[in-house]
């Protein structure tokens, strides 16, 4: 198990390196010039020349790439000219806010997705199943920024139950437990929006996997031994269906690092999605490449963790010798 893990981690190194090169090249190949975001407007030619030189933008692309890779090898992910400090420190600053939103959203969505999916599978083609499937389809089809705005109009403006934006009340300056409550109050609507994004894939995969397992011989055998439908469902079918479900949830966690651009934007939630977007618009290369790199590392790690979880869930899966 340990050896397997170490081997997988070692294999990941060239993969991460490759990902870094590819993202760097793609980003620099796209049209765009950071000079105005960097240097401001209405400067003279000499000024822009000076700024290009300062930030190495006047050097040939391959040279810039080598400089980037050289620094990367030393663990330096670059300097954000927009934020005037290292890209990593900017990203780490934003990470907690993103996790604060994503972790509960994914947890809630997993509980809803797995339980509804299991129930729907147990009562295939029932009214419950059909309702759940239609709702999933809708959840898939509705653009999340639109849904977010509808949530705002309804629950913030119309009913006045929740605040419109932000992570806290800008005026109140709460402290201690009151501040926690305030943050919680602000989390409800964005989490609700995110849950509608996360639930559909989890629910559909759960339903399909459980249905598949319910057709298996061992289920029939269990039923024949007199076990109740509920027990068979929960103790036998669901655990055996867990592998694809874990895969889906794992991939969602992997992408957590990208935040959610749209939800964060609509609810003015300060997270990584917004950071990535504004970095892209301003061609803040250091932030973009650092975020994509960290994202690919997260995905690689999540894949590894998912694989390790397999062996916990399913005794037949054994890694290493």
């Amino acid at each position: 198990m340990v050896r397997y893990t170490v081997r997988r981690l070692l294999q990941a190194v060239p993969l991460v390196f490759g990902a870094a090169v590819v993202t760097w090249i793609l980003i620099h190949a796209a049209p765009g010039d950071p000079i105005v975001a960097l240097a401001g407007e209405d400067g003279d030619a000499g000024y822009y020349a000076m700024m290009r030189e300062r930030f190495g933008l006047d050097r040939p692309l391959h040279e810039q790439l080598f400089v980037y890779l050289g620094r990367l090898a030393q663990g330096d992910l670059g300097f954000s000219y927009r934020q005037n400090r290292s890209a990593v420190s900017v990203i780490l600053d934003q990470l907690p806010a993103t996790l604060l939103l994503m972790v509960p959203a994914l947890a809630v969505a997993s509980v809803i997705g797995i339980s509804v999916g299991t129930l729907a599978a147990a009562r295939k083609n029932s009214a419950l199943d059909n309702t759940a499937r239609t709702a999933t389809l809708l959840g898939h089809a509705v653009p999340v920024f639109w849904l977010s705005q509808v949530l705002l109009l309804l629950f913030a403006l119309r009913f006045d139950w929740f605040p419109v934006q932000g992570r806290s009340d800008a005026r109140a300056g709460y402290e201690g437990f009151r501040a926690l409550l305030d943050v919680g109050h602000h989390m409800v609507l964005p989490i609700a929006a995110l849950v509608t994004v996360y639930v559909p894939p989890i629910m559909r995969v759960t339903r399909a996997a459980v249905i598949e397992n319910l057709d298996e011989m061992y289920i029939r055998a269990a039923r024949a031994r007199g076990q109740s439908r509920r027990r068979v469902l929960i103790r036998h079918a669901l655990p055996n269906a867990m592998l694809p479900i874990v895969t889906v949830i794992g991939s969602q966690i992997g992408f957590m690092f990208a935040g959610s651009v749209l939800v964060e934007t609509v609810f003015a939630w300060p997270g990584l999605g917004r950071l990535l977007l504004s970095a892209i618009l301003a061609r803040d290369f250091a932030i973009i490449t650092a975020m994509l790199l960290m994202l690919s590392v997260t995905i690689i790690l999540m894949n590894l963790i998912t694989d390790l979880v397999y062996s916990l869930l399913d005794p037949r899966v054994r890694h290493g010798t």
């Binding site: 793609l26 209405d42 030619a45 800008a170 609509v266 994509l292």
Partner: protein, 591 residues
């Protein structure tokens, strides 16, 4: 297999990142960028006066005139050098003190050094932390800020400023003339793009005969200096903090600003909020009234509006056109019509004809397009009435320089058709096809859509190409790969700052927001030069009138509309200086 999937996922993501600048998912997110980009310039102008100060400038070149603007805001509806409600009211009945003003900001500023950038979001914050030597009002007239008075030599080559007494930096150090000299010589003239571009060639020296006197010496007469000294164009920075710093652009001090302004930075939570607290030792006695100002980053304009309606924020810089009517009828909200502010002043969205293109070498083609574009429709349908049809290169609100004695191009399809026939582009079907580059956000694609329909009526096929800002600028000014484009050019505080750059032949090349038409006319070069170095305001007005006559006849660009911005505030907030960098200096909450 899994690895392949992973690589695929990374590739897809990178592609997404590389292309996401102008895809559909951009839509709700892109609008906030508008204020900054709408004006290719970022510039608060205005100055509401401070109650304690007696404006006593001995200044001559007061380039201005009666305010014609319909500013609704108490703080700027009065003639410039006179008294102001913001100044009077407090005296009559002391405004309530205390409270936290929440201002929505569309993007994170990144740092707080206003001397190294012209960016909107930095200046929106630092305008409350720093001061310039002067502030400007709605019509770009100078008023005392750090300088309580000034003298200008008869030939406009020497400006002497007398600093206010007892000004202290937020850390307690006194402000002296050395700070002013240092700021210009070590920061602004190197790193502030507009100040560098405008002054570095003609500013000979800065002398500091004593601690409160600063003298600017020019190599030639220069009339527009006072319009360049507000808190956006020339914020004064502390020498004792920045002296000896290796690199001003990346200095740690940029995140812990020490200013002279009405508010001090208390905390900065990236991408979330910036909290400013009252500067108890502010040199303008009695100000500010508020205890705190919180700048909350809210990228989505719709969310900003909802937050204003819900009272979660007190002020938003821009109300989208579509929301103006609804908010206008809401008693709890006050709208402010403004021509300027940190988002750019006196702006004119303008169609650029690329003079390198064969088709535009014929004046009749340019005239035909001018007649074919229905600019009233642009005002009504794109701006929701928040603007006017432009008549030429200078905004009608810049009273001393504006002239209506120009060639005008009313909407006239028949005239346009006749001109195109004359130019030899056969009628029937499509006469020719051109591309039209626009920014992919805000109202720009909407201008393009209306114009595409307008021009189709006279047989010109327009291919609209929306690009995000970072891709647009190098394509237009670097590669010059366009037939036409729309950019909102802002006149800013003086035509020598915001207008000349589009027409003078020395400003063609890979310079953002420069002479994109590549228009060359030696007579125009001379006129702009003369206008910038003429001290006499009336004479300057004549020169700019001549410039407008020539340019509207030659039509290197088509000036579409003059935009007006609308800011919104809670009705319980008074004394806001919506046009100034010092937006919250005199603001207070009503009982």
């Amino acid at each position: 297999m899994r690895r392949l999937r992973l690589i695929g996922a990374i590739l897809a993501l990178a592609l997404l990142a590389a292309s996401c600048g102008d895809d559909g998912s951009d839509e709700p997110v892109s609008q906030p960028a508008e204020p900054a980009a709408e004006g290719p310039s970022a510039e608060p102008e205005t100055a509401a006066e401070e109650p304690a100060e007696e404006p006593a400038p001995a200044a001559e070149p007061e380039p201005a005139a009666e305010p014609e603007t319909a500013a609704e805001e108490p703080a700027d509806e009065e003639p410039a050098a006179e008294s102001e409600p913001a100044a009077e009211e407090p005296a009559a009945e002391d405004p309530r003190r205390g409270g936290t003003l929440v201002i929505a900001l569309s993007d994170d500023p990144g740092h707080f050094n206003p001397g190294i950038t012209t960016g909107f979001n930095v200046h929106a914050v630092t305008g409350s932390i720093f001061n310039g030597l002067v502030e400007l009002d709605d019509n770009a007239n100078p008023h005392p800020d750090l300088a309580e008075s000034w003298d200008v030599s008869d030939d406009s080559t020497q400006y002497t400023f007398h600093l206010a007494q007892g000004v202290r930096w937020h850390d307690g150090e006194p402000l002296t003339s050395a700070d002013v000299k240092f700021t210009f010589e070590n920061v602004l003239l190197d790193y502030h793009s507009r100040t560098r571009g405008g002054l570095s060639g003609i500013l000979e020296s800065i002398d500091t005969p004593d601690a409160t006197t600063v003298v600017f010496n020019f190599t030639q007469p220069y009339a527009a200096l006072l319009q360049r000294l507000n808190s956006t164009e020339a914020p004064i920075l502390p020498k004792h903090i920045y002296e000896g710093v290796d690199d001003v652009q990346t200095a740690d001090a940029n995140l812990t600003p020490v200013g002279t302004g009405p508010f001090k930075l208390e905390s900065y939570d990236i991408d979330n909020e910036i909290t400013l607290v009252r500067n108890d030792d502010y040199f303008k006695a009695g100000l500010p009234y508020l205890d705190r100002v919180v700048m909350r980053v809210i990228p989505d304009q719709n969310t900003q509006v909802l937050a204003l309606e819900e009272g979660e924020v007190d002020y938003i810089w821009r109300v989208p056109g579509g929301d103006i009517e609804r908010l206008g009828s809401d008693d709890s909200i006050t709208l402010h019509n403004i021509n300027s502010g940190p988002g750019g002043g006196f702006c004119i969205p303008t169609l650029t004809f690329n003079s390198d293109r064969e088709v535009f070498s014929d004046l009749r083609v340019r005239q035909a397009i001018a007649h074919a574009v229905n600019r009233d429709q642009l005002v009504a349908q794109v701006l929701f009435g928040q603007g006017r049809v432009a008549t030429g290169p200078i905004n009608s609100q810049m009273a001393f320089a504006y002239s209506d004695d120009v060639t005008s191009y009313p909407y006239d399809v028949d005239r346009a058709t006749a001109l195109l026939d004359e130019a030899g582009y056969a009628s029937g079907g499509t006469r020719f096809s051109i591309d039209l580059l626009v920014f992919s956000f805000g109202v720009f694609p909407k201008y393009a859509e209306v114009m595409r329909q307008n021009l189709a009526e006279v047989g010109i096929d327009v291919v609209v190409t929306p690009l995000d800002r970072s891709a647009f600028i190098p394509r237009v000014f670097g590669e010059r790969d366009f037939d036409t484009n729309i950019i909102s050019y802002c006149n800013n505080t003086d035509p020598s700052i915001g207008v000349a750059r589009m027409y003078i032949s020395s400003n063609i090349g890979d310079i953002p927001f420069s002479n994109g038409a590549a228009y060359i006319n030696p007579a125009i070069d001379v006129l702009f030069d003369e206008a910038a170095s003429t001290p006499d305001v009336a004479r300057r007005g004549e020169l700019y009138a001549e410039i407008q006559r020539i340019l509207t006849a030659e039509l290197p660009y088509l000036w579409l509309v003059e935009t007006q911005f609308t800011a919104g505030s809670g009705a319980n907030v008074q004394g806001l200086q919506a046009n100034s960098g010092h937006v919250a200096e005199t603001a207070y909450f009503e009982e």
